[in-house]
């Protein structure tokens, strides 16, 4: 995303996602978990994807990997990786790309590794499969990778089982496994959430170093704005299955344009702020993305999603300032290309609104 997507004359970005939709059919209806998501990403860049639980971050990650169960999930839209169309690609083709050109680091290193096989075997497995190397070469490669991710005595530890490693070390193993084939796209789904804070920093540093070394593009999914601030180049804020704001990380964090992004930033503790001062949560909860089964035509006009109008409206403190009254209720705001936010407030309205309503604080006792 170093070049604004869609600008005339720019070549296709390395990863290009257009109008991605992921729907799950359940007994109660269809869940529109990702509802028209678009973004692009260049090699060597890191895109931070942030949002609350249930905003569709992980579902997006799995869709990029083609890991959704085809029986329960419908994935539509376009995911182009270096010109290869991934959505709807045959399983065989995806198998050749997965672990090879696209790799994923999962959230919980305690469950992401198989307890029944040595870490060496698990790291070597995709290498042997994708490069046609022998098992011996695979083992050597595993030792090399374990060393690269900073595991001491890799030649000895290669034959250990995951339960013989600490949580942070296991995440290093997962990362080694993801990078073993030099993937050009690495998707990290909350890679540090399950780890304690000191280990978090190490893992993020490691990811940063490896990205430079391998020149991979990284999609970093997290709910932690601190993580994004420290590692990402660009940021995409997701809400209710859609992107609501995007831009270079500094700009988005310093000068958020969407009320939701602003809310997220207000709910983060800062070292510089008064420790007595309460954090400001965003009131309410994200909307349900379920469309119940009886299709009675009451769906939103814009693409059949579950929501009519702005999904953030019920939690928004600024909707009263939008001109034309009901627009927030009836018209779903569109995220403009490049830097911008999916909000009906104009740039000027937003500036005055955010300035006047300096942090709405709950009353102190």
């Amino acid at each position: 995303m170093n070049a604004p997507a869609g600008a005339a004359g720019t070549p296709e970005p390395f990863l290009s996602v257009r109008d991605l939709r992921v729907r799950f059919s359940t007994e109660d209806g269809t869940v529109h978990a990702v509802d028209g998501l678009s973004f692009g990403l260049e090699r060597g860049r890191t895109l931070g994807v942030v949002g609350e639980s249930g905003s569709g971050k992980s579902v997006t990650a799995l869709a990029l990997m083609g890991l959704h169960d085809r029986r329960t999930a419908s994935v539509t839209g376009e995911v182009l990786l270096d010109g290869h169309e991934l959505t709807g690609a045959p399983e065989k083709k995806l198998e050749r790309l997965r672990g090879n050109r696209v790799a994923m680091v999962f959230q919980d290193p305690l469950t992401a590794l198989s307890p029944y096989h040595t870490v060496g075997r698990q790291i070597a497995e995709p290498f042997v499969r994708h490069t046609g190397a022998s098992r011996r070469q695979g083992r050597l490669r595993a030792v090399e990778m374990l060393g690269r991710v900073g595991i001491p005595q890799p030649a000895r530890r290669v034959d250990d089982y995951p339960h013989q490693f600490s949580g942070g070390m296991r995440q290093r193993v997962v990362i080694a496994m993801a990078l073993v084939c030099n993937p050009s796209l690495l998707i990290a789904d909350e890679p540090t959430t399950a780890l304690d804070v000191t280990v978090q920093a190490q893992i993020l540093d490691l990811l940063g170093d490896l990205r430079q070394e391998f020149g991979s593009a990284v999609v970093l999914i997290t709910h932690d704005l601190g993580v994004v601030a420290g590692t990402a180049d660009d940021v995409l804020v997701m809400y209710a299955g859609r992107a609501v704001e995007r831009g270079p990380v500094r700009e988005v964090l310093r000068d958020p344009q969407h009320p939701y992004t602003r809310g997220l930033l207000d709910s983060v503790p800062r070292l510089s702020s008064d420790p007595e001062e309460p954090l400001v949560p965003i009131p309410g909860a994200p909307p349900s993305l379920l469309v119940p089964h009886p299709a009675d035509g009451s769906r939103a006009p814009d693409g059949g999603g579950p929501l009519r109008g702005c999904p953030f409206l019920p939690r928004c403190a600024f909707s009263g300032r939008v001109e034309g009254g009901d627009r927030c209720r009836t018209e779903r705001p569109v995220l403009p290309a490049g830097r911008g936010a999916a909000c009906h407030l104009t740039e000027r309205q937003r500036r005055t609104a955010f300035a006047e309503e300096a942090r709405p604080r709950p009353g102190r006792p």
Binding site: E91, R98, A103, F106, A112, S114
Partner: protein
């Protein structure tokens, strides 16, 4: 491993000791004189007294128990002659050495068990795998409902039906019987085929349902998803990752089933008129035949305990997180 085996063997010995004491003392609470049975018709009071003396039934029960238990370890001297270790005494009912009878009956039970287990494991686990791999499809629904119906079937119902059709009706197979494998392999096979299959039908359903549900659970594990994310093909993911994780519960249940089947499949043996350990157990109780009851009881219990030890050792092979020598679990 050695420490594990020693510890578990000692534990098993303690369990066997408890079972033997319980059975022995329970026997003497039966309001029935075993000597009367041994005496037969036209019994006189003198004859009963003689039998009492010969069998040592006049001694205090704890003394009899001690003599019996030492006999197992060291052998025993009887009026009729020496009985070498392991001596479970002579049957009250037919005067044969108990151990000899056990050794006679065991091959029938073992053949029944091993053959049945091969059938129900192959069919049960296979069907379970297919159902799990095609979860939600028509195949899965058919397999699941058939196994539900079969699991509520009973051997004493299904057995006679199958016998009626395949043996008496069409004469496709000979009436079930046991011929030692070493004497006549073909006869051994055809003679036990019906019991194996009928027994397997009952067990198969359990294994199908268990294999299906644990596999479905495993297929949703994070590490299985990781394997897919590495680009491993579906078959590898299924067998190398998901199946491996399903083995523990399956092995657990299999060990329990195998142990109890080795101890005698009573209903199967009665249904098909086979003389195995299960039959022997029932007969010995009906005959109030103390040495035989003790013999069958200890033999079956020992087999169950042995299976348990083997299963626990197998855990360590399946799951590297299991450490046998770690102490705590008995």
């Amino acid at each position: 491993m050695l420490r594990f085996l020693v510890r578990r063997t000692l534990g098993a010995a303690a369990v066997l000791l408890l079972i033997s004491a319980f059975t022995f003392f329970l026997f003497f609470s039966i309001p029935q004189d075993p000597a009367l049975l041994a005496c037969g018709k036209n019994c006189t009071a003198d004859a009963v007294a003689l039998i009492h003396r010969n069998l040592g039934l006049d001694d205090p029960v704890p003394l009899q128990y001690a003599a019996f238990m030492t006999g197992i370890v060291t052998g025993r001297e009887f009026a009729a002659g020496p009985c070498p270790a392991p001596c479970f005494g002579y049957s009250f009912a037919n005067d044969r050495p108990v151990f000899e009878t056990l050794a006679d009956r065991f091959p029938t039970t073992a053949s029944l068990t091993v053959g049945g287990a091969v059938v129900f494991l192959a069919v049960g686990l296979g069907a379970g795998m297919i159902a799990a791999a095609r979860r939600g499809t028509a195949t899965d629904k058919v397999v699941s409902s058939v196994s539900l119906v079969l699991s509520s079937m009973q051997i004493y119902f299904l057995g006679p039906v199958v016998l009626g059709v395949l043996v008496y009706g069409t004469g496709l197979l000979p009436s079930p019987s046991y011929v030692p494998l070493t004497e006549d392999p073909a006869g051994w096979f055809t003679g036990l085929l019906i019991p194996w299959c009928v027994m397997a039908v009952i067990f198969t359903a359990n294994y199908t349902r268990m294999a299906r549900s644990t596999l479905i659970e495993q297929l949703q594990e994070d590490h299985v998803r990781t394997a897919r994310a590495k680009g491993m093909p579906g078959r590898t993911v299924f067998f190398r990752y998901a199946w491996r994780g399903s083995l523990i519960p399956i092995v657990t249940i299999f060990g329990m089933d195998l142990g109890s089947l080795f101890g005698g499949a009573m209903i199967t043996e009665f249904t098909f008129g086979l003389a195995g350990l299960g039959r022997l157990a029932v007969d010995s109780v009906i005959d109030i035949d103390l040495p035989m009851i003790m013999g069958v009881m200890l033999f079956s219990s020992a087999l169950i305990l042995l299976c348990n030890i083997v299963v626990d050792a197998a855990y360590a092979l399946i799951d590297p997180r299991v450490r046998l020598d770690a102490g705590s679990s008995a």
